[in-house]
Subunit: 502 residues, 2 copies
């Protein structure tokens, strides 16, 4: 029921926008009647082990031209709907991994795509005539930015720059921080001839020995700049040259957080002290810290949380030492923590300097304060600078999130999910521990990686598709349309597996 309501809302949202965007549009009425019948499935349905024979054959084909070691299975996206992912062998799974946490409102039906895309998006040529946004933006570009990204800007963020993906977003955020830092150092004067000359050959002072402070367990992307701030798994970093940048410990907290307040506060204090030591040490080394980058919840690194107090003190340390403060919301942003931005839970008086995003925001990019805008054009630049078709799609998705109050839904489902995980770890203490989460952005640890992997495979064959992170963690990353009904489905499947596992 809830999902058919959602679909009707989509249709209404689209109708209203289409009438503005494309007067005289032809498809709306057909779409509106169609969507009502196209509601979500009510349960998983499995026909083969996963990957099934069709997936395996496709893996063989793709394996001729790419490494397919990471491919789980092939999908039939036309048949996938809402919270259910359908594979090419006809298996229908409850999806709580959502394309590595990148699908905002669930798998969208064909009628949504047709009505939205054919009329609103593509009558505007945004897809086929992809502009170089930095030099030749389309007429509706400012409007669409205000309507989409600016309408959800975190506190203190007055400016936004779109990019193609999360890594590009963080790379360019780092560049903005370096540029800002050096401009401060040279008193906003023009660069010297020596700087201009040396930068062309990668040498200091033109290419200065500045650094970004990051945390053990962090994941900020895989291009060489963000990779130097990533420390979650060796497979990401092995054999790739890197920068000598400082790496602070991220607090290793005990869960549930409310039961270990004192111990956790001590651990956080230890880490903050180390941050200050590193900043001083790297300045003395001649590699000053231009910026500090941190995730509100370390995701890839194992769903590691810290308290609002920790982040708030970290922000103060950044301010005290003249470093920019960059909050990486690539995985946490977009509503799954119950707030649109996870760092809104901290209640900072002094907002961040940069907030980067991608995944569920459909386009990459970063918000920043006025001061972080480079002084000249072409310093932060590339050919496409994002993709306006993604901004248009984001506008539609935000309309749905607002009208459906999906953040409230997330808070409700998240509570049910976390309570359920607590119950499971109480029931199976030899297998599960450390249930934790904010909104539906939840996780639980298995006793070791082999057990974790075994649970995940069994769950998949029973129609529950989950992701892993860290060493032995299962991460839950459902879409915003994940309801209490789905929580119970998930918990039932897990419980059955764990009961057999005993």
């Amino acid at each position: 029921m809830a999902s058919s309501l959602l679909t009707r809302q989509l249709a209404i949202s689209l109708q209203q926008n289409l009438c503005l965007a494309a007067p005289g549009c032809r498809y709306v009425s057909r779409t509106a009647t169609k969507t009502v019948s196209e509601f979500e499935y009510d349960a998983p349905s499995m026909k083969t082990a996963v990957p099934g024979p069709k997936s395996q054959e496709l893996m063989r084909q793709l394996g001729e031209i790419q490494n397919v070691g990471a491919v789980h299975f092939f999908c039939n996206y036309e048949e996938s709907r809402g919270n259910y992912l359908v594979d090419v062998d006809g298996n229908r799974m409850l999806d709580v991994y959502t394309q590595i946490s990148s699908i905002p409102i669930g798998e969208v039906t064909v009628s949504f795509s047709k009505s939205f895309l054919c009329e609103s998006l593509f009558s505007q040529s945004a897809f086929v005539n992809r502009p170089a946004l930095g030099i030749l933006p389309p007429e509706n570009f400012p409007d669409k930015l205000f309507e989409s990204l600016l309408s959800i800007a975190p506190s203190g963020m007055s400016r936004v720059q779109t990019m193609a993906c999360g890594s590009c977003s963080n790379e360019n955020a780092f560049k903005s921080m370096f540029i800002w830092y050096r401009n401060k150092e040279r008193g906003y004067a023009s660069p010297s001839e020596q700087e201009v000359g040396t930068c062309m050959i990668n040498q200091s002072p033109g290419c200065p020995d500045l650094s970004i402070l990051s945390f053990m367990g962090a994941f900020h992307g895989r291009t060489m700049g963000c990779l130097a701030a990533t420390h979650s798994k060796a497979i990401h970093k092995l054999d790739i040259p890197s920068f000598d940048w400082p790496i602070a410990p991220f607090p290793k907290l005990q869960y549930p957080l409310e039961e270990f307040v004192r111990e956790n506060a001590q651990e956080e204090a230890r880490c903050l002290e180390e941050v200050e030591d590193l900043i001083v040490k790297w300045r003395q080394k001649g590699r000053p810290v231009a910026g500090i980058v941190i995730e509100p919840i370390q995701a890839e690194g194992g769903d590691n949380h810290a308290s609002p107090d920790f982040f708030s003190k970290l922000r103060n340390i950044a301010r005290k030492h003249g470093c920019a403060f960059h909050v990486d919301e690539v995985q946490t942003g977009g509503g799954t923590t119950g707030k649109f931005w996870a760092h809104e839970n901290w209640g900072l008086d002094d907002p961040a300097d940069v907030v980067s995003f991608s995944k569920k925001l459909l386009t990459g990019g970063y918000y920043h304060r006025d001061e972080l805008q480079p002084d000249k054009p072409y310093r932060i630049f590339n050919t496409w600078m994002g993709d306006p078709s993604k901004n248009l799609f984001l506008s539609e998705v935000l309309n749905v999130i607002r009208r459906e109050n999906l953040l409230e839904e997330v808070t409700r489902s998240g509570k049910a999910l976390l309570q359920g995980l607590y119950a499971l770890q109480t029931q199976y203490p030899h297998i599960l521990s450390r249930a934790r989460g904010q909104g539906t952005f939840c996780a639980i640890d298995a006793c070791n990686d082999a057990t974790r992997d075994s649970i995940m495979l069994k769950a998949r064959n029973k129609g529950l598709f989950m992701g892993s992170c860290g060493e032995k963690t299962i991460r839950f990353r459902p879409a915003l349309v994940f309801k209490e009904y789905h929580v119970h489905q998930l918990l039932n499947i897990l419980n059955n597996i764990l009961a057999e596992h005993k």
Copy 2:
């Protein structure tokens, strides 16, 4: 005429594919009748100076949230067609810059977008349900890769990896070369515990001191890895930390090439000698060269050419010293040089190891030999790994290129363009020099940057939109549908401006 033919070809191509992709499709006949009337404009038409008042107002709006110093004007992409870009003030310009060389077959009409996108592309959900291609590819992903990217693979290239943009493509190509190089060094054994441990904290041997050899004047992108191989303009590099990697001189040739064969051969020999010296020197320094990266024509750096003999000898040097050889075709690829890949003009016996692309290929990515494939999954990886909707669009574009024999068109137009530029520099030797080009990938130098910029602004106000590169170069980057008729239009406008400039 030619353009209406083209548009009809598009419709036929689409009909045939749509019948495969979406049986029972409804829009084809309407599209087919519509496209015939929607042909290209026949000439520029100017109503205001550029940027006009509407563009200026939009710049003010966008300026509130972004640096707009690089924005030339705002575009009306719905009204833009083929070789003509229409701005929001109703100015229609002959476009030989094509979104920084990234539009393959010209601005595409609304009917093309509707028929192709609504039926073929979006009935397949490729846009709204964007998959994480590395783990959950859609059913048609291998087929579409074979049909699109593999069907145009350069000689020797058996594998392809898609990425979101040019910088990501080069970053990941570099990473592949580093991984390949270290695997060779350790005799394909597993990494040591020390390597696994040190890579997590950015230290050697896990993050080894390897380097990429690049050339002065090169442009390979702006994320921190490719930026370390970019040396075209200070504005790209100033204030960004970099790597100590070797930079060789790129030959400074005299044009026309066929008149300076001996002098140019000497210059190329000098540069090649320097390449070998640098490889030895960097090995001695403890930063061995894992790969050599080069553009077939240095584009951003000023349209600098070198001979097939130079590239062939460079490839041999890479082979001799055990370095991978990476040809960056981000700007040169896609047909504008008269071959689909510019480096096909070299006739290499021993193909490149990596060929990267983006821009006119609509998706980023890189081809590589079998040996360059990482040994394990997740080493070359990110959330999206490209965008399958772009692969589908590329398939359609390739059909058009083949059926319309657009590479022959490019060769014809390119000859006319280069002859015209020779004539202009003969007529205005005090203003223009060094006309050069391959296919329509042409350029000419002005006597200084101020004159170049003044000519470009005047041309724009007369309806000719061009790009610049290097210090004082005008670059011509028309789409593949640029015909001799358009060449004459371009030359007439330029001639009028130069005549006034005398």
